[in-house]
């Protein structure tokens, strides 16, 4: 008993018959599915990559904000006029945790020029990145202190912290980091 459709050739072997409409529709359907699969996979790969880059930036921003707002820097007197910033190991703005020192803040603001920008970033662990730092009242504006320029991006890492100015005034510090 035989099944299916076939031709018998002169040498007695069987040749299968291809149903062109079935085959075409099958191939089309399969191609569409494979293309959809490739598109989805590519989208996922892009998202994972973006997520990984954002994690890296957020990690750097968290560390830099800790260095700035919870430590006095190394050496602690890096802000003194006679001190060469290149010789400092790290920059910190705090006297004690979250309590910012006015002199350190003023010195940082003095170094807002493009010449010192890279040097400052290297001292807070953000070499190769860009930053925008603001310190404002609890309602966000106007800022008391501004360092750098905002990115205008929507995928930069932003860290918000509470700090004290003059020992008693509660303020909000916002650090934006991007590459």
């Amino acid at each position: 008993m035989t099944t299916g459709r076939y031709w018998l050739t002169s040498d007695g072997t069987r040749k299968g018959q291809i149903w062109s409409i079935d085959m075409l529709s099958g191939i089309t359907l399969m191609t569409v599915l494979i293309l959809l699969f490739a598109f989805e996979w590519n989208t996922l790969a892009l998202r994972w990559n973006e997520s990984s880059t954002y994690d890296e930036l957020l990690g750097k921003a968290l560390l830099a904000s800790d260095a700035l707002f919870t430590t006095p820097g190394d050496p602690p007197g890096w802000e003194h006029p006679g001190m060469n910033l290149s010789a400092a190991y790290a920059i910190g703005l705090a006297d004690t945790r979250d309590s910012l020192d006015n002199e350190k803040l003023e010195r940082l603001m003095d170094m807002n020029s493009s010449q010192n920008y890279s040097l400052v970033l290297s001292k807070i662990g953000l070499a190769g990145c860009q930053v925008y730092l603001t310190i404002s009242d609890l309602y966000g504006d106007p800022p008391y202190y501004v360092y750098g320029q905002p990115s205008g991006l929507n995928n930069s890492a932003v860290v918000e912290r509470f700090v004290l100015l003059n020992g008693t005034t509660v303020a909000k510090a916002t650090l934006e980091v991007w590459q």
């Binding site: 299916g4 989805e40 998202r47 945790r97 609890l138 004290l164």
Partner: protein
């Protein structure tokens, strides 16, 4: 073989492949729809925010005023935290009774993954315990 005498084995195999690939596509769609959240770093950020909040509340003297002005100066700080962060400060007397409770408005009940920061302070000659509970607002952080 079907009723017309046609062999349909080839179709069955094609349907299997299509069904399998469709299932894979559906799975991928759901994975793509999920929100990717860097849990560890978010936890670190929340811990930093909690520590900062308690530090500035204590050092600025706002914590001691939590009874005097119905906690409004404390609430002002909690309100200034990022929109996706929720906080609730409980002040407990040494006899265990709740002396004050300040919540950030619009947060609802704490979710399971929350952090609690404990501390103490003295006011009017009495010692009080504090518990600052913080968590991410699921509606805002998505």
């Amino acid at each position: 073989m079907n009723a017309r005498g046609q062999d349909s084995r080839g179709f069955v195999i094609t349907l299997d492949a299509i069904a399998a690939l469709s299932l894979l596509l559906i799975s991928l769609y759901f994975i793509q729809s999920a929100t990717f959240t860097p849990t560890t770093l978010q936890g670190t950020a929340l811990k930093q925010m909690s520590l900062d909040t308690m530090t500035v509340l204590q050092k600025s003297g706002r914590l001691e005023n939590v009874f005097a002005v119905n906690g409004t100066s404390v609430e002002e700080v909690l309100l200034a935290s990022p929109p996706e962060v929720c906080m609730e400060l409980s002040v407990v007397a040494m006899n265990g009774s709740v002396a004050a409770l300040v919540e950030k408005p619009g947060c609802g009940e704490p979710v399971s993954e929350s952090q609690v920061l404990y501390g103490t302070f003295s006011s009017g000659g009495a010692l009080y315990g504090t518990a600052l509970q913080s968590w991410y607002n699921q509606e805002v952080s998505g």
